[in-house]
């Protein structure tokens, strides 16, 4: 646990000292989300109909922007070798890195969502469910993104491949997440999709670090 905290604290500190990089996904997200209302007619319910989908897809795409930094920096400066060789189980170190990454990239994105939701006329009554669904999807998304980043450590320009690798796997999150939001917009019970998102999160947190650690070891060999 002490090592988990040490890795988490180090990654957060490094991230905040390069805060300008943290802003990239946020700006990307804001731009994508504002382009849709500009491109579509503001009348009628068109915007509201596509709003949920756009917000979810934009969140996923923006989170991909930052993923190259997850392991690339540590691989390039040799820290990753030392993490593998250290007496700490690599799964714990990897989990700490994924948590740190989620805190500095996904969390700010999710905080931005309620504000951008207004541009799509999404009723404010549905916002708590939207944010809750995103928070429940965040662990699974982070683990998938980290797995993609770990599998492409050995490649110099892994960024675009990771997108191809990870985005198809996010479809269950997208289906349950948008379903929960739509149900709450229509005032229907949302427990089922939210519970499914939670189950996926539990699965990802428990098994994900094992897979990521194995991928990191192979990637550095």
């Amino acid at each position: 646990m002490r090592v988990f905290n040490a890795v988490l604290a180090r990654d957060l500190r490094v991230a905040f000292r390069r805060w300008s990089e943290l802003a990239h996904p946020l700006i990307f997200f804001s731009i994508v989300v504002t382009l849709f209302p500009l491109a579509l007619s503001p009348e009628g319910s068109q915007l509201r109909d596509i709003g949920t989908g756009v917000l979810w897809v934009a969140t996923f795409l923006s989170s991909l922007l930052a993923l190259d930094g997850l392991f690339r920096g540590d691989a390039d400066d040799g820290s990753l070798e030392q993490l593998i060789l250290s007496p700490v189980p690599l799964t714990i170190a990897v989990l700490a890195k994924v948590v740190a990454h989620a805190l500095v990239t996904l969390l700010p994105l999710i905080c931005l969502v309620p504000f951008t939701a207004y541009t799509f006329n999404i009723p404010s009554a549905a916002l708590p469910t939207l944010v809750l669904a995103l928070l429940l999807a965040a662990p699974t998304l982070s683990v998938l993104v980290a797995l993609g980043a770990a599998l492409t450590i050995g490649l110099r320009r892994g960024g675009s491949i990771v997108g191809l690798l990870v985005l198809p796997l996010t479809s269950p999150l997208l289906i349950f997440g948008t379903r929960a939001t739509d149900l709450s917009i229509n005032g229907e019970p949302t427990a089922a999709p939210l519970l499914l998102l939670g189950a996926l999160a539990a699965l990802a947190i428990s098994l994900g670090p094992l897979a990521i650690a194995a991928a990191v070891k192979v990637g550095l060999e």
Binding site: R2, V7, R10, V14, G78, I84, V88
Partner: protein
């Protein structure tokens, strides 16, 4: 004891080395020598358990190095060409993290003084010179408190005084029961009686 048996590494059609045997007991130093590209770094990474040989086994106290338990892994330190410094953290922060990783107390004061790093202790690592980065890597090696040192050309970029310090540390480490495997192009700096030379 560090043991290598029938080690061979092939890169495609090319053989880097084969039929390599060695045994290294405590209070022993081994020097890896060979031309550029002869496989020194590869062998050290194999000894550390970071890479696998094409055939053969490496054991540390009877256990294969890629399957060491946590307690045994604490005894092995590997320092490669990369210093494992986070450029955006200060020298002291880097060292404290490294000590935490190895579960050691970060006693930095005397160490930084010995390595002439006191002036830069609170500077970000990105502002260090190549030689200073090497010195921080040596500090990390010291902090890990390992019994077996695996060093890949540790004298690169070090000035004369730094090299002398490293040689003195190595002697002291070996004399106090440690083991070291060092890849180097200047074996005469480290060699003493009883030094095992591994030529690739």
């Amino acid at each position: 004891m560090l043991c290598g048996r029938e080690l061979a590494v092939w890169r495609g059609e090319r053989c880097l080395f084969e039929q390599l045997h060695f045994e290294l007991g405590s209070q022993q130093l081994a020097l890896l020598v060979g031309a550029n590209g002869s496989g020194k770094t590869t062998l050290l990474r194999i000894l550390a358990g970071l890479a696998l040989p094409t055939s053969g086994t490496v054991t540390w106290n009877g256990v294969a190095v890629s399957e060491l338990a946590a307690e045994a892994r604490r005894e092995v330190a590997y320092r490669g060409h990369l210093e494992a410094l986070k450029r955006d953290l200060t020298v002291a922060e880097n060292l404290e993290f490294h000590a935490a990783l190895w579960g050691r107390e970060p006693k930095l004061e005397g160490l930084l003084e010995e390595l002439k790093l006191v002036q830069v202790a609170h500077m970000r690592a990105r502002y260090l010179s190549a030689g200073q980065r090497r010195r921080v890597a040596l500090a990390m090696l010291h902090l890990s408190g390992a019994k077996l040192w695996l060093l890949d050309e540790p004298t690169t970029n070090l000035d004369g005084e730094g090299r002398a310090l490293l040689v003195a540390w190595t002697r002291r480490h070996v004399d106090s029961g440690g083991l070291a495997v060092i890849a180097t192009h200047q074996p005469e700096e480290f060699a003493t009686r009883g030094t095992l030379m591994i030529e690739l």
